[in-house]
Amino acid sequence: MIAIRELVKDYGPFRALHGVDLEVARGEAFGFIGPNGAGKSTAIRCLLDLLRPTSGSVEVLGTRDLAKHPAVRARIGYLPGELVMAGKQTARDHLTYLRELRGGAGSGRMEALAERFGLDLDRPFRGLSKGNKQKVGVVQAFMHEPELLILDEPTSGLDPLLQQEFLSLAREAREAGATLFISSHILSELEAVARRVAIIRAGRIVDVEDVAILRERAGQHLSLTFDAPLSAAAIDAFSAMPELEGLVISENALTAVLHGSPDRVLKEAARSTVTAWSAHDRNLEELFMERYREPDAADHDGRRR
């Protein structure tokens, strides 16, 4: 559905993308995560032929040259990162206009979607709150039931309730067979829809991974409390376990991040008397933050696909 190869994009002397490679299969829900200025919107605008690659290529819905085959965009729903519409017109005016540009597709769903998101179609765009403007964007992206949805930070500005509503709309689209390409700053928000995510930082793809694998890699916060300070032998045993990361033992308490099976840890702990324990999944954000910060993540990991 989407194939980006060796995509380089310069803004004047500034290189925003340094050779991005990505592939999204039909029917896949794909997340595109990265901090501000990483190049998400730049890559997305290349996909839609707003920007022309400096080098490399993009292929969308089997077409390499959208300039020659613009009609292919009738099958794409696009939500811009920053939606701006002329202020005087109402949301209905804008949506009707977009429907005409798309050859009339989407008449039926406009009202239903607006109602679902509690959007008043008859107020001038100018007077709408940020969230309401975002709703107009969501409605126009979904109303013609496109095969491919390219959504640039779709939940920004939506309150938690509407974020949930958006996510369920996205899931419905996926179940109906649509392909989704969603950018976001926040990994956990995409967990509910995306199976696979790419992480982009400073114009380079740092990682492309299944959400489930990322989740495993994130590990669990583990804490154990014993009835007495641990023996030197026990401390040595715990310290030698590679599955425990960031191990801290103070007096009779132990905390660490556990990756993989807890078996060895539990067996060792059982030699002493455990008075309290807890283990909870680590927030994906925490892992994500590590990735962002690691200055040379791209060099360590290569550009894995």
């Binding site: 032929d49 707003l50 920007l51 005409e100 540009l101 050859g103």
Partner: protein, 264 residues
Amino acid sequence: MSRRYPILAGVLRRRRRGLAIWAVALASVCGMYTSLFPYMSGMDIEAMTASLPQGMMEALGYDDISTAAGYVGSATYGLVALALLLVFAIGGGAATIAGPEERGELELELTSPLPRSAIYGQRLAALWIQITVLVAVVFAVTFTLNLLQELGIPQGDMVAATVQLWLLIGFFGSVSLALGAALGRRAGALGGAAALAVLSWMFNALGPLIGLDWLAMISPIGWYMDTNPMTRGFHGADALLLVVASGLTLAGGWWRFARRDLMT
């Protein structure tokens, strides 16, 4: 029309109120200037302007200001209608692509199933239609007053002046639109087209004064009016120059618009 040319229909729908206001304003100002002529001819204009050097009088088109055609040509067609229509065309040209693109309003249109050529072409058509409406308003007002006040301006001359005015205004609108489409910047479009208009006026008005007649010959405003648009009749060669200049500018704007990054 909104099926076949949705962008054209949409732009016209959004601009219709503004266009109506322009039409009323233009009709009032042109009507006022033209209807002043009988009072002006009552006064001794020749005496009033006698102190001006002959060259200056010719440059300003005041040498035959005592005749109706001379007056309407220099005051209405050569000054107020010209200036107002230039403001409309240059402003409207910049607001056709560069303005909404720069504000970010064009993003969903530019990512619609329509090709860039449809966006350029239909928006261009919308601008020319608006210009045509306003030029027609100027013509209608002048034509009516000519009859009502028995000014006796030959109707053929009036039609010729109007056609050439239309081509001139269309040219400046096209320059502003093409520059905006090429640059994606409203200020660049406005600045470029306005600078060209001012230079063009100065070349036509002042060139002959300082003995450089060829300056008037390369001036689009010169191609329109020479010294007086209402008395010169139809000049095929000058009209053709305006058409060709518009075509070349629009082709250049399209060449760049088709290739450049949008919305940056």
